[in-house]
Every structure is written in C-alpha cells, then in structure tokens.
Amino acid sequence: MKIIITITTILGMMYMPILGISQNTEGLVDSFTVKVEGLGCPYCAYGLEKKFLELKDVQNQHINIETGILTFTYPFLLGLTTDQVEAQVKKSGYTAAWIRVIRASGKVEEDTLNTTSKINFFRR
C-alpha cells in the first residue's frame, strides 16, 4: 500500500508541470480583460455585470464605462474560455471586440473578435 501511494505521489508530481499546473494551484486565478462595445450608458452596464455574475466564481469584476473595458478574475482550475466570455457578453446584449487572458501559469491568450472600433463607424 505504501509503495502505491509513493508511486502515485511521484507520478503526480512529475505530470503537474507537464499539464501546466503548479504544485499549489489553490487560489490561483486567470485575469480577464474584455473590450465591450455598445455600452452607451452607465445604467446599461448592470446587464453586463449581472450576466458575468451568473458565472458564480467571477471575482474582482470592474467595468470602465468610458473605455468599455471589463476586467475580472476567475479560478484557474475552472478553465474559463474566451468563447464562454464572448457568449456572456453577447447574452447581455453587447459586443465583445477583443478578449485578453493572463492565465495563472503566465500564458497570455488574446482573441480579437470584432473590428468595428477600428472602422470607427461613429466617427465624430
């Protein structure tokens, strides 16, 4: 029995770095930055906030109305994808222009989804 436990522990420690999991993953979070288009009024942002609070483990949520930047953190182990983030923005009635994720492992993911801000359709 002791041999089995020892082997399992050693194998686990060997595979953790390969899977990108540090030995102490508890409390580690991914940091998300989302550029949201269409937030035309502060009151409108409540729909966006509430939609992300449906992802129960969202923390440190912040919305900058003037820049349209939504930031939040999410537990690393739950592996929230940029597709899921885009879907939440869409459900709240807005458009995600790009999503940037800094994973707890240090890996950076960027997803450009919409280019309307570059087209500057509403140029003043």
Partner: protein, 260 residues
Amino acid sequence: MKNILPVFVTLNLIAINTLAQGPPITADKPIMLGAKRVVIKSLTEIRSTNHGTFIKAPLIVHYLPTPNLLFAAHIPYVNTVFNENLLETPKNFSGLGDVELLGKYQFYRKDATGKTFRMVAKTLQTLPTGKAYNLDGILTGTYQGYVGVVAGYESIKYGISNELGINMSGNSSLREFKHKIGFGLPLLKPSYPVKQVNLYFEYKNSWFYNTNGYRLLYAQGLQYAIKRLILEAAIQFPLIQENTIQNFKRSMFIGTRYIF
C-alpha cells in the same frame, strides 16, 4: 393640419442633430438590458384637461427572455375627477384602467466603444379592461393596437430616442399617428456603479387622423439614478392643440424603476 408636416420635419431634423443620455422618461428607448432581466417600474401621470383631472398609476413589469426580445405588462390604477360644468358629466371612477401588453424586438444593433445605435420594432396592445371614457392614454375601455419603430443612438456623452408608430382602434377618435423624441443632458460625469443626474427634453406628436386633430406636447424632465434605482419626474404641457377631444393643460409625471 397644415402645421403637422413642418412640425414633423423640424422635429426629425432636430432628432438627427440633438443627442441624449440614459433612458428617456415619457419616450421609449431601443436599449435592452440583457437576457433574463426583469425591470419593475412605474410612471404615474396626473393630467389636467378641460374635462377634469385624471391620474394613471401603472405597475409595469418588463422581462427580457433574450437580449433582443422584451415583453411587458402595464397594469394601471386610474382615478378620474371630472369637472362638474361639463354638458354630460361622467361618473367619477377609481380602479383598474386599460391593461397594456408590450412587445419589443431589437432587429438592428451597431456597437462601438461607448456608443451604440439600435432599432426596435414595438407593439402595444391595449385591452378594454377599463371604463369607456375616451381619455386617450388614460382610460378608453377600447381595444387598441399600436405598432411602431424605436430607433436610438446612445453614447456616454450623447444619445437620442426616436419613435414613430400608428395606433389603431375601433374607436375612430383614438386612431393616431404618433412620433416621440427624447433627448437630454447628463449633468454628472458617467460613472459605474451608476450615479447620474439627467435633464430631459421630450416631445410627443399625435395626429388623430380620423378626426384631423393634432397635438404637440413638450415634457421637461429630471432623472436621478443611483445604482439600480432610478427616480424621475417630468412636467408635460401642450405646444400645439387643434381639433382634439380633450384640451390638455398639463401633465405631471413621477416615476421610479428598478432593475433586478
């Protein structure tokens, strides 16, 4: 009647060049607050006309099953106090008014940073649950069907809500071609969580095409929004009235809304 076309054209030109912020008070908006949202609101109107003083206090519940679709029910409490010098003074009434069912579908959306342009198809069905008193917008006891389009541009600095539609009814005096615009001025810098004070300027054109009546109303409103709660008040008075059944003196609006 000859005033109608220039007034409509002028207001539409104003609408193109004048912008607003936040949800308008007496007009409608094309912005929707996301799927599975519920908004509870009320907008009490105290209207004085040449026929008397009338109060409509509706409980309004909005529900959005999807980001593009909204259903709402308006359940009004109505109180009427008719002037006693009328030729035929109707009996005063307090109780349930005409229940209204609202449906809106957002069919166009163009988003950019801090701004959006949206268009919504709208229908409002008025059920004859109240007394037949021919008080348009308050108490008619007549089935009415309204269809219209709401278009709006909104940014954190500017915006506008613009609505055009037609109201149909078995009662020919209620058949109406309607146009509303609402624009305003945010008095505080936009922030989130919300803390806003907005000043509103809203116009409502009504052309009762069967009776050739016309009315242009102007409403001056003030809105205070704190977190999920909005408190608002407006005073509305006529700028033009021709061949209308009721001659408006003024309406006071007091309202509140809360987003869940």
